[in-house]
Amino acid sequence: MNLLNISSPHATRPGNTGTVMLTVLAALIPGIAVLSYFFGPGHLIQICLASATALLCEAAILYVRKKPILFYLTDYSALLTAVLLAISLPPYAPYWVTIVATLFAIIIAKHLYGGLGQNPFNPAMIGFALVLVSFPVEMTTSWSAPSALLNSSISIQDALRYIFLSRETIDAITMATPLDLYKHQVEIATATEIYQDPIFHGPNSDASIALGWQWVNFAFLLGGAFLLWKKIFTWHVPVSLLISLSLLSLFIGWDSDSYVPLSLHLFAGATMLGAFFIATDPVTASTTPLGKLIYGAGIGILIYVIRTWGAYPDAVAFAVLLMNFCAPLIDQYSQPRTYGHKKAVRGLAKKD
């Protein structure tokens, strides 16, 4: 009889980090499906491309760092970063944009900081921000129009050609995103005029907010609700993000003749993806309950500020990265009150 001698607790919940990452990936499926339905196979190709790049370069870095490769690859964190990055990028961005973004996310934003759990910034958003500022043309002209507005839907061959070979005829399938369109049109037109554009109501007036985009956002919202139910993250970040964004939009941008209306803020951009899948990345977010509320609200405010007064039509990446900077500080000043204590500790311990 050879008895094990270890200290308590002896019972643990089954599962590991990989299970968490796979659950999040599963929750992305409805969003990816809807994206592909409305915008063609571009995102799927980008997902494959980014995933392959991420896994290969993660394996290479692990080899260089002398870490067990399979053990770390099966935490699926690189895969999740790749998928999140791929669905954030324009579906028909050239292949090298995706590869550069992925390499930068995995090598610089993740491993150079010490690997999983050590990175202060969301790797996918670092990759996204890099290519957004470096390759503005590719990043703004590769969004496809919803397939209902095209003469024929985009075939896989066409998609592969746009991404890997030639971008000669890509103008035929691309158009500005609804947020981009509204933001630029509102300076010269009224809301009623802007809403004439079929991207908002669809060719047969079958969309109420923005063709395709509204369903993409609903699908990500659904996935997020699933993760909340699975207790992968708590409600704090997404709820405070959505509330702060909504409140700003209602109080400042109530006049849709001058500002992008609330409905577009919530359902026409990357808001739901950002609120439920990007801002909730636990490694880079605040971790205390109060801290999460502050962190989420900060992202919501920054999204509104950048979208309204900044140069970019969408702003999830920059808003998240800016709040990543603040997360450690927020954590120190939002500690919960420990059982039996009269009040919560604020800040770090003073050095003697």
Binding site: S7, S8, T12, F233, T287, H341, K351
Partner: protein, 570 residues
């Protein structure tokens, strides 16, 4: 009726692990019987170990005191059955660290013969002091796990207590010993609570019990109905099943909404908590005069063919119990004393059951899997959600890992109750509690080191001061001697040597000098004695008491010398 509706207060965090309780609740409690040998550690409680009253070869009767708790915070130990003392020696005891301790070993004779025992008559009308004395004599300590001497808790002035809480939550998986006891002995339990009420005179009394024990709840309610009238004010409060609701602090929070202040006791907020098993032992001690010699222990786990609860004599080796329950001992991979969340593994099956052993789990490999490889913390915060003490477990992990003890303390690591909820939920399989134990140990060590170095410095300074003073004294003496010699020389020259000796003796100046020297000398002795005492205290030597007496005497002498000097001066 006792079915009042109570406003329950939830505690933050908590988890719902697999309960694994049904395995051992199928059968009634059976008696484990008398093993050939009983091994009784003299320290089964918190406080000073009991002092053995017997020697090897002594014949003892069942219930005879074999070791006495001489301190107030200590417990008597009784022979669980009749037999012969066959050894008093070091043996492995139930302990986190697998340590050995002094144990009294009884070779049983199988007669199980009692001397006559008798409880207190009309005990509910007895003086509280008499009841406490009966509890103290019976050697009862908390049977839920901590093992705090019960008579100490019962001695808290009744004026300070307004709520008595009986902890029947039994929230850890696998353990069903309290559940079984309540099902079968509810009446005794109620009577035991009445004894505590007679001592502590609380305004209210709650039995906190998790809703996963419907039969026990019914048994308690029936016992309350049968019990005379409804004047005893005992309320069975059913609480939701959630680990660790049976933690004393958490149960208090659930039932009253109050929190035990940091570094304080439940008595600070007018509450006393007692465990179900303890309450039954109190009833047996006071009403029947039966000392604590047995307890209910759950024997369970997948290697056990008939998991069930046993009435076990204290000192029964675990191996004997496993055999009684039909355990395939070759299949055991992990042998746990206590529950799977806070219990500890034992590696020796000769370790005995003590007053606090509520459960033994003989688990297979599949049942409690080997610890998985630790992955990186992804700061998911599931630990923060689970922590019942509202700590930030993942922040504490960083501080523990980097030995950043200042920050760990600032983040209240000392408030961690080591319930294991954080480790249980951690998706990265990080042994969080183990990291905290490490950090707590480091903090304790650092504090001890600091205290010891401060004391060493104090000792060094005192010694230096004494040496300086001694040197000064010597110099003065030398000077005085030289002066005296010079005077003598001068006197010899000036006058004929008459009446010299008598003059010196009656010379008040010389007398004064002598007294002064006496004061200085006894000052030095006081300093030396003080130094020795502080050294002994620092090393926790037993001689400290004697040294203290010596110091007191020297101080007395110094005072006398000073008084003499003053008188001579005036």
């Amino acid at each position: 009726m006792n079915m009042h509706h109570y406003t329950l207060h939830d505690f933050k965090g908590g988890i719902h692990p697999e309960q694994n309780k049904s395995q051992s609740t199928g059968q009634d409690i059976s008696t484990a019987g008398i093993p050939k040998i009983l091994i009784l550690p003299i320290s089964q409680h918190i406080g000073a170990p009991a002092v053995p009253l017997v020697k090897v070869g002594d014949v003892v009767l069942k219930g005879q005191v074999i070791a006495q708790g001489e301190d107030f915070v200590s417990c008597n130990l009784h022979a669980p059955t009749s037999g012969v003392i066959s050894a008093i020696s070091e043996a492995p005891v139930p302990n986190q660290s697998g340590m050995q301790d002094t144990c009294i070993q009884i070779t049983t004779d199988g007669n199980d013969s009692w001397p006559p025992i008798k409880g207190l008559d009309n005990y509910l009308d007895a003086e509280p002091q008499a009841l406490i004395e009966a509890i103290s004599q019976a050697g009862i300590s908390g049977m839920g796990g901590a093992g705090f001497p019960t008579h100490v808790k019962a001695s808290i002035p009744a004026s300070k207590i307004d709520t008595l809480i009986i902890n029947a939550a039994e929230c850890e998986p696998y353990i069903t010993s309290d559940d079984a006891l309540m099902r079968e002995n509810a009446a005794d339990i109620i009577k035991g609570i009445e004894i505590l009420q007679a001592i502590l005179k609380p305004q209210q009394c709650y039995i906190g019990i998790e809703d996963n024990k419907p039969e026990a709840i019914k048994a308690l309610q029936d016992a309350l109905k049968e019990n005379k009238d409804d004047t005893h004010g005992i309320h069975v409060v059913v609480i939701p099943t959630k680990y660790p609701s049976g933690g004393e602090k958490q149960l208090i929070q659930i039932l009253t909404g109050l929190e035990v202040p940091v570094a304080g006791l439940p008595a600070d907020i007018g509450i006393v908590c007692q465990n179900i098993g303890t309450v039954r032992a109190i009833f047996q001690a006071v009403a029947l005069g039966r000392p604590l010699i047995s307890r209910i222990t759950t024997i369970t786990g997948d290697t056990v063919a008939h998991p069930q609860n046993f009435e076990v004599l204290l000192g029964t080796p675990v191996q004997y119990l496993l055999e009684q329950a039909g355990c395939d001992q070759n299949k055991i991979q992990r042998l746990i004393m206590g529950g799977p969340m806070m219990g500890f593994t034992i590696t020796d099956n000769q370790i005995p059951v003590t007053k606090t052993s509520n459960c033994i789990i003989a688990a297979t490999h599949n049942e409690l899997a080997d610890p998985a490889m630790e992955q990186a913390c992804i700061r998911c915060g599931m630990c923060t959600q689970a922590c019942p003490a509202q700590l930030l477990p993942q922040q504490l992990l960083w501080f523990a890992k980097s030995s950043n003890l200042d920050q760990a303390q600032a983040h209240n690591i000392s408030d961690c109750i080591e319930c294991g909820a954080c480790s249980y939920v951690c998706p990265s399989n990080i042994p969080l509690v183990q990291y905290y134990r490490f950090a707590k140990g480091e903090i304790k060590q650092a504090k001890a080191d600091k205290q010891s170095s401060e004391q060493a410095k104090l000792r060094f300074d005192t010694r230096n001061a004494r040496l300086e003073r001694e040197e000064a004294e010597k110099a003065e003496k030398r000077k005085a001697r030289a002066e005296a010699a010079a005077k003598k020389q001068a006197a010899k020259k000036d006058a004929p040597p008459t009446e010299d000796a008598t003059a010196a003796a009656s010379d008040p100046a010389a007398e004064l000098k002598g007294l002064k020297q006496k004061v200085l000398a006894s000052q030095t002795r006081v300093d030396k004695a003080r130094e020795r005492l502080s050294m002994a205290q620092e090393q926790n030597l037993d001689t400290a008491g004697a040294l203290q007496l010596g110091l007191d005497k020297q101080i007395e002498k110094l005072a006398i010398a000073q008084k003499n000097l003053e008188q001579a001066n005036s």
